[in-house]
Subunit: 456 residues, 2 copies
Amino acid sequence: MNMQKDITIVGAGLVGSLLSIFLSKRAHKVTIYERRADMRINNAAAGRSINLALSDRGIRALEKAGLMGEVEKICIPMHGRYVHLADGSSNFQPYGKEGQYINSISRADLNILLLNACEQNEVALNFSLKCDQIDFDKNEISFVDGYSENIRIEKPDIIFGADGSYSASRLQHQVHSSMFDYHQFYIDYGYKELSIPPGKNGEFLLEKNALHIWPRGNYMLIALPNMNGSFTATLFFPFHGEPSFESLKTPDQVNEFFKTTFKDVFPQMTTLEEDYFTNPASPLVTVKCYPWVRDNHFSLIGDAAHAMVPFFGQGMNCGFEDCFVLDSLIEKYGDDWHTILEKFQDSRKPNADAIADMALNNFVEMRNKVADEGFILQKKIESWFAGMYPTKWIPAYSMVTFNPDISYSEALRRGQIQDRIMEEVLELENIKDDWKNSRVENAIISGYQKYFNEKI
Amino acid sequence: MNMQKDITIVGAGLVGSLLSIFLSKRAHKVTIYERRADMRINNAAAGRSINLALSDRGIRALEKAGLMGEVEKICIPMHGRYVHLADGSSNFQPYGKEGQYINSISRADLNILLLNACEQNEVALNFSLKCDQIDFDKNEISFVDGYSENIRIEKPDIIFGADGSYSASRLQHQVHSSMFDYHQFYIDYGYKELSIPPGKNGEFLLEKNALHIWPRGNYMLIALPNMNGSFTATLFFPFHGEPSFESLKTPDQVNEFFKTTFKDVFPQMTTLEEDYFTNPASPLVTVKCYPWVRDNHFSLIGDAAHAMVPFFGQGMNCGFEDCFVLDSLIEKYGDDWHTILEKFQDSRKPNADAIADMALNNFVEMRNKVADEGFILQKKIESWFAGMYPTKWIPAYSMVTFNPDISYSEALRRGQIQDRIMEEVLELENIKDDWKNSRVENAIISGYQKYFNEKI
């Protein structure tokens, strides 16, 4: 029996290219079609340097694909949040336990690394071909050539839609479904990328191994380090109101605003004016849909199946985990693609929903709570308690970021219960001044037994 | 100044045709494009006779358009729910006060009446032309001819998308928006139309002036009267599980199921087998989206803007109310289409959301609660109390159905509070046996003051 399938992947982004490598390693014939030009030749992201936070779920997938050795070379570890308060003071909040960190990585560099790996793995890459129509009855997919406008039609055994938040293959799936649940919504905030250039000798002008945050209540600035000594800063900001992208219109207004609001980093943002007026204010979308799959011949994957806002740093990691799970299912079910895709959907859909919700919630945490005394105290107490009961109590952020064996939906569930317990603990008398004691330990244990309904 | 606009309406259904009449009466040049053939010539709904419940919001709009005199002639008043219980017993639950009723009306007959009125009002009607692409920058809209496949391009001043739940114009709007919130979801139930033919001499075989319901817990059958003595019955039924559309596969299974489950009406359903296997099991979708409008030149309206499940009988009424509100805004703002469309959206969006939610909730009420003693008691007590305090307490169903001056969102808000009050009242001792007294009256008054925070 020939188990080799002819597989088409729509999209040569991070998830499409990693997926193709997994499938190719399983001896399938894999072809990728990408709407954009080859970024290795024609750098589309020229002048912009977007970076992402790679953490354990993504790393586990890259390791399984045998790529982590290469990827590690372009990673900058970030051990915690470096919080810059409005009064100019700052503090450092570790992400997890000693030795746990997330990684700043350039989206473009990682994508290029993956595309090169695709070619080493005999994946056929096609660029400037835009997915146009899909006839799901025949599994016929057509692409429009970005230059000639010629139509190219393919008839693979299986199609994966890995073409991101604004997926064209998902639109075809939607339009040709009789019952398709589809939710797409935008928050009232956009983001704009800005830069903090390196010092004269290429040195980092802020602490290198941290994710910097300037929380300002209903908005924030963050910055992640790049390999060349610069940081990419991102302003998450309301579209309307005061202040907002709408209200900051002139160079003077922008300079004045940054000077007073982000005073400690303003002097380093030497390209602020140019960045602000060149780079767009981009929207932030959440997409949930169902079903993702059609029988044994079509599936959405990555952002195309579940776009989320970036505040938990899990968009890429979740997409890579999709690939990891899919590959594990292929391992288990071999040629039974109906079962593979069905189980893929059943296992990933609730987890994608959970991380999308957590990502929305985390915006409030990042832009506001990290500057809040009560929140900082809660994190300290949790961290202390977790040190004593490491298998019982894992902070929500750690479950999501450092514990791929705990699913997103389980992390959401446990995190919500833990928050409820901590809410009660934070109401204990004098908790602020006196918490490293058996009184607090016992209060947490009793809350744990009450809400988790299990002995600690 | 020439205030006349060239207006294109996509869709010649109920809302599109009524809208065109309002606009034409305001001296605009109105053209409708409809995907289907002219139903007056080529009856697309042949063999199927769908009826709807026309109530006060719809009537108010038809009156404003000067059409209610004609429409009334094809209406059959329904004064309440005629509930057929599983044990073969039945009861009648009036919809409102004495003299209040809703109307059974044939969708096809009403649509034909409106299309004829369009022509009398100089609306240009075009059939078999399917909306294909919209270029919103140029306000250019293209249609494909269903026969010749020729493309026809129009460039009106204003486009209204009135093309229903599966709106093609909405899809164009979605695809060409940078920030468009879109929610579309299906419930796990479908509906299938069945028939109860008239008696030998054309007589009604069930009580004529009522909406019949056979509530059966997680599913139900309903029936509305037609002018010819027949009833159109609709089975709302799970797609999967036991029993479901999936589980009833053979004529024997269907007959056996109806015979035992709907035993009082089974003998009258003489075409059951044919109906069941001819008519499709159709899905039930809810659509919410935002924004509906683009500046001064595009708006969605009716189901295209807000599709809802049919359980409150408000889909058409809400769409007609859209037209009523839009016409009132034109009255007020004349040629200022930017303001007209913006205020239209601001006023209708929260109300459309509210009725879509109420429609989902009402399914549980219809298929289950109407057979529940506690529910029936609550309705009786509410009706008694409302009789004493008619301006203070209006049952939620009545607010939605008989009180167009109360918006859907206000009806939702007040209804939820009233339910909360009644929940407490129903827990009073011996409430079942003894409720027409000052104890219960005072309990409701005190709940009212507590939750509405106002004196009764």
